[in-house]
């Protein structure tokens, strides 16, 4: 249903600094305190002009800019009070910006232009996506059982036929590209790793709803088949904490038969297809290249790959992870498609997953550290210390860091930034503090 008008009323906002407020009263008190306050005597005036006059008369000085105002909005001459007096043009520009803000990059939905390959993601966007993805994955990973913990299995496919489609994929391989060559690395992955996929796969899906599942609406999708199937994967069927590891196994088989053929039949889908969620170029990779046949081999590559994406923060590619790293997010996309096929063959091996998980945790502790400067080392350090018992919250902490940093617009450094776990929980999980109940038959 087209929701034409903004269903929400626009919150009062300050023309001087473009911040918005709960209501006009708060806005006015903000203006008085921040913009209309005399620097000498702290007297709060009612307008910028009033403040200028006061400063002139009482302190014998002239001011011609409004304190704490954005460049271009510092005029002392405009009589702004609350929301009154805001020039029409600025009001429109602000509203337009709000609209844009609503369709934020994370949703990817509007950005998808069916056939065009114009998915040009800047390195930053990719990093943001990766960070958000990691965070979501971590959020999913944390509650999920250990078996599912390993970084989402890279869609096995990489090595596959994907190669051909890849080049064709929307040109958006910018910073992350190089992926193509890298993708061929996949085949080298140990087959055992493949088993990692299914469970990991489920991991992917939980956090992903906003992103991957933009696919269905995507006009570019050549295949009618996949889209309908995507939603189930991405959203509904996957309970937030992931169906028990067994679940992934269940799901794919059902979907697989239906899913794979349409998906892979298309071979190299038109460029637009791969990137529905707006994933970086790699997306097409996974989506397209998976022929129904090769699924088996797919299991191989994903293993190691699986570990990479979640761990490496986009700026830092763990050695050997090559193209995958920046495309951590895309990988998940890829996994989606791949997952289907892999299920045909085997079920993930819990031990492999667990092993992968711990490696993942270890690596993740190292890699994100350099990327997010002030806070990361702090929270990264805590994950390294605790043993696997704490790896879930720790992983969340590590992964949350890039998200927090990426998302924090003010660049102020939150000393403790993990929003999901309290300091006490992190501490109580440590070996040293962990409560070991006495073994009593009770």
């Amino acid at each position: 249903m087209a929701k034409k008008n903004k269903k929400k009323v626009v919150r009062p906002w300050c023309w001087y600094c473009e911040r918005d407020f709960e209501d006009e009263k708060v806005l006015i008190s903000h203006q008085r305190a921040k913009h209309f306050k005399c620097n000498h005597c702290n007297k709060k005036l009612n307008t910028a002009g009033g403040m200028a006059v006061h400063v002139m008369q009482v302190h014998k000085e002239t001011i011609n800019t409004v304190p704490n105002a954005m460049p271009g909005r510092q005029s002392v001459d405009l009589e702004i009070y609350g929301m009154e007096g805001i020039p029409e043009a600025d009001q429109i520009a602000y509203l337009a910006k709000q609209e844009d803000g609503d369709n934020n990059p994370a949703s990817k939905r509007p950005k998808f232009d069916g056939g065009s390959a114009s998915v040009e993601f800047s390195a930053e966007d990719l990093q943001n996506q990766l960070a958000q993805h990691k965070a979501m994955m971590a959020a999913a990973a944390a509650p999920a059982p250990a078996a599912a913990a390993p970084p989402p299995g890279m869609p096995t496919p990489p090595g596959f036929p994907m190669a051909p489609p890849v080049p064709g994929a929307p040109g958006a391989h910018p910073p992350n590209s190089g992926p193509y060559p890298g993708q061929f690395q996949y085949p080298g992955m140990p087959p055992a790793a493949a088993s990692v996929m299914p469970a990991a796969y489920s991991q992917f899906y939980q956090p992903r709803p906003p992103q991957p599942f933009g696919m269905p609406p995507h006009p570019g999708m050549p295949q009618g088949g996949p889209p309908p199937q995507f939603p189930p994967y991405g959203q509904a069927p996957w309970p937030p904490h992931g169906p028990p590891p067994g679940a992934p196994h269940n799901m794919p088989p059902q979907h697989h038969p239906g899913f794979a053929p349409p998906r892979f039949m298309n071979g190299p889908p038109p460029p637009g297809y791969p990137l529905p969620p707006g994933m970086p170029p790699h997306m097409p990779y996974g989506a397209q290249g998976l022929p129904g046949g090769p699924p088996h081999p797919m299991h191989g590559p994903p293993g190691p790959m699986a570990q990479r994406p979640p761990m490496a923060a986009s700026p830092h590619l763990p050695p050997g992870s090559g193209p995958l790293t920046p495309t951590g997010i895309p990988s998940s996309q890829m996994n989606h498609g791949l997952r289907q096929t892999s299920h045909i063959t085997s079920s993930p091996d819990a031990t492999t997953l667990a092993a992968a998980a711990s490696t993942a945790v270890a690596t993740s502790s190292a890699s994100p550290a350099p990327s997010s400067a002030p806070v990361a080392p702090a929270s990264t350090a805590s994950p390294s210390a605790p043993p696997t018992g704490a790896s879930a919250p720790a992983d969340a902490a590590v992964n949350k860091t890039p998200l927090t940093n990426a998302a924090a617009k003010k660049e102020s450094v939150l000393v403790y930034s993990n929003n999901d776990v309290s300091v006490e929980e992190v501490r109580a999980a440590l070996e040293r503090y962990r409560f070991k109940p006495k073994v009593e038959s009770s």
Partner: protein, 338 residues
Amino acid sequence: MMLGNQAQQQKDIEVTAAPSDSISDLAFSKTSDLLAAASWNNEVRIWEVMGDGSTVAKAMYSHEGPALVCQWSPDGSKLASGGADSAGRMFDVTTGQPTQFAKHDAPIKGLRWVDGANIVATGSWDKTIKYWDIRQPTPVSSVALSDRLYSMDTHGSLLVAATADRSITMYDMSNPAVPFRTMESPLKMQTRVVSCFTTGGGFAVGSIEGRVAIQYTDVKDSQGNFSFKCHRDGAPSAANASVYAVNAISFHPVFGTFATAGSDGGFTFWDKDSKQKLKVFNKQAGPISAATFNRNGSIYAYAVSYDWSKGYTGASESFKNTIMLSPVSEADIKPRKK
């Protein structure tokens, strides 16, 4: 308390024999000058604070895991504490013996005596609050929460519980199993602490992001709700300003003004009615992990110990954990006209 003569110097007195590990909670008795501290070294220690501010260690008992919360009973005869061993323990001052009165499935992070009844409410990371009649081994009632409990406080018949999902639930003790109001925290980041006004009618919420929100329980009074930033380093809007968690909020028993203590090692007195900062105190050597006023508000006790805000790397074996008693001068804590 005779600490008035020391008020001028702002010389805070260190409590003797502080625990060897971080202090998670401090509690003064409402009827006497006993101070209790719960610590990560599993101990709960009790001192008597003398007229001149000196302290005498009186008793100590242990949990089987780190002790996280403690509170004196309204009549001052017992101290209840909860810890990471998922147990609630009661220490009877007269017998000098601890007994276990409560059990959860996960560490107990909130513990409060319910005024007027012989009941203790305990909240835990197992997402429940259980009400215990201390003489019975099974809870009188158990309430399910939406997520792990992070902080809990009571005043009169109001109990406020803050959980990990930033939800805040209020219970009326005349109907303790049913929340009478649930809301989302006004703060965007994880809730660290909630504390009820000592004058009733609302509570304060502190988060990990250096922010405190004052909330009135009655929806009619919600116009008065507001929040403010605190415990931050550097110029307020500067990039790279460090933002610290608010670890403790304590309301003055007499004036209704309150103090916040943060991970930055500083503590500040505030007046919520005139929305003013009353007094800022010098930063201590480490984060302030717990703080509280004594029964008449003449002493503000605060514990300087590592709160794990910087993870494992921030921990130092050699850091000396201290509990300080600060004499409170009326001028500093009295409400001020705007």
